[in-house]
Structure formats: C-alpha cells, structure tokens
Subunit: 167 residues, 2 copies
DNA sequence: GCAATATACTAGGACATCCAAGGGTTTGGA
DNA sequence: TCCAAACCCTTGGATGTCCTAGTATATTGC
C-alpha cells in the first residue's frame, strides 16, 4: 500500500467507464471515487496524529463536540444527531471514553430515558491538546489551497443540504 | 439519524473553531469534515444499491477491477495496490466473494508465493449488472453539477497526487 | 550452493459502523 | 385514567479496515 502507482487508478477507471459506453456517468464516478479515496487519506493522517493521545477519530469527535457544549454535557441522542452517526456508534464510543476516564454517563434530570454524557476534566484537557495537534499537523497543512478549501466547502455544503443533512 | 438538522453542524463547528482562536485552521477543518461526511452519504447510497446484489462496496470494487482486467484475473498484491487498501482487506473480500462463487483463487504459473484472483462467469455477470445499477441510480444522479464534478476531480486529483497516491 | 533478506498471503485481534431486537420511560389520545 | 405508540439506550451480530505476527516461496549475496 506504500509505493506510489505509476498512473492514477481513478483516471484509469474513468477511461474504462468511457470505453464501455458510460460516458455520461464516467466523470461523476471519478469524482465520487476520488472523494472516497481522499477521505481515506485524510482519515489516515488524523488517526496518526490522534494515536499518541490514545484517541480514534470517532472518540475525538465526541470529545470535541462535548468540549464545545456550554455545559460540557450532551444527551446521547443529541450527540448522535450532531455527529450524524448511528446511536450504537455513540454507545460504543462512550463506553471506551468512559473506560479511559474522559467522560462520564449521568442521568437526565427530567427524562428517565435519556443519558447525559459529560466531560471529565481529564477529558477536557485531552480534547484541547488533541485539537491543537490536529490543527497544526493536519488542518494547517491540509494540502488544499485556500481557493480549493472555499470550493470544497461550497460544493459539499450544497451536496449535504441536498442530501437532507440539514435544512 | 434520519431527520435533517435545523442548522449545518459543520458550519457551526467552523464558527466554534474561529471563536477559539483557530481562524486559520477553521476553513480547512470544515472542508476536511465535509469530505468525511460526504463520503459517508455516498457510501450509504452505494451500499443501498448494491445490497440487492448481495454485494458490499468493497466486494464490488474488487469485482469491477477484475472485470476490467483483460484476462479477468489479477494477483492479490496487484489488486491491493490498485484498490489502495491493505492486503488483509483483499484477503477478506476474496474469501467472501469466493464463498459466493463470484471469484476463484488460482496459483500463479511462475511465482509460488502469488495467488491469482479470477472472475467466474457468475461474477462477471453480476459485476455488469451491479455496475449498470450504480451508474443509473448513483452516478447519473450524484447531486453534483457538471462543473462541481470537474472542480472535484481537479482538486482531489491534485491532492491525491500530492499525498503520494501516484506519480 | 546456502544462508540472509525480501515478498506474498493468511490468521488473529482491535475498532468502528450499521441493523435488528429488546427493555425501560414518556407521551398522547381514547 | 390508562394503554398503545413513540422514544432512548444497549446488546448481539455482520462487515470492513488496519496492525502485528507467522508461514511459505523467491531472490540476492557471499
């Protein structure tokens, strides 16, 4: 998985598509495939930075979300909605973060069905350190130009909105 | 995970970043997060289309790759390199595809270490059907305009090249 | 020619994601 | 008032991805 390929495999796939009579779908296919691959690369970088902190991206996201909540606490279902992942994924992440002493579960004051997740002080400290590391080692050198970043935000926001992520 | 949120969570995160003194990193962070989320949405659509065929995206990718190989066969390591996934992921996918009768393993004629993966006729037929479905149900209605597609291909190709995917 | 190194694949384990199903809690309409 | 429907979280199962060995085969160097 290490050595660079002599040719762009996605461009090759696009040519294959065109050669098989799917000329109209070839370019969108290439764009979609490129997004998949780019996500893979970015996730790899992020996980590498988070590893020394004992965090995965999923756990970091939850930690970061909590650190931005005024009270430092959120209901599980709220976290699930904001992170846009399945509730069971949040359960899983909270289990591990709790085992690491970074968050605690507590009862909701008025709704017995709801469980609140709350940052511990260790969790808050770690979130801050991990965020600083990600900013300096990933986001500050993303490999995208400022214009690329603007374009991506514009294109992908429209896509996500159209896909029903938000109104 | 179903109902649309009243606000864009990524735009909110970007504002949070800016409010915490990471103004330079906020936009790249938002772009990266948007890529992660977009990949998630696209993967969901693709898996939904492939499900009736009994395929996952990982298995489909391998089938499609084989169907474009002249001989219909590829060494495992070659497939791993072209799909840009870990060799063990290919082993996993081949195990399941073989169990489904879509591919077979065979010995390399000259290199005893190498295992060739070869499409069966069922595999070739299924790959064709699944590709047609993906083209009409996902790529032909990707939600990106033609200009967006061009921009994405341009930006992400440069990114992947810069990341060392290909020369 | 034989040992040391490199390469190819597989086995086992850690994580994450989703779905389906189950048990507890609230809410709203009969 | 009260019970059915809706909601919230967790458990168990299936997939996929990666990493760390471990086994087998090739190639290289002395």
């Amino acid at each position: 998985m290490g050595t660079p390929l002599p040719r762009d495999p996605i461009a090759d796939a696009q040519r294959n598509w065109e050669g098989h009579g799917w000329g109209n779908e070839a370019a969108p296919m290439a764009a979609v495939t490129a997004i998949m691959r780019t996500q893979q690369i970015l996730l790899g970088r992020i996980e590498a930075v988070l590893k020394p902190f004992g965090l995965t991206f999923a756990r970091y996201e939850l930690l970061a979300l909590l650190s931005f909540a005024r009270s430092g606490a959120l209901p599980m279902n709220k976290a699930s909605a904001l992170l846009q992942v399945h509730p069971t994924s949040v359960t899983n992440a909270v289990d591990r973060l709790q085992a690491a002493g970074l968050v605690v579960r507590s009862a909701h004051p008025t709704d017995g069905r709801t469980t609140l997740i709350e940052l511990t002080s260790e969790g808050r400290t770690l979130a801050k350190s991990a965020t600083a590391a990600l900013n300096s080692e990933v986001f500050a050198q993303s490999g995208f130009t400022d214009q690329d970043v603007d374009q991506l935000i514009r294109i992908l926001s429209a896509f996500r909105k159209n896909a029903g992520d938000f109104t």
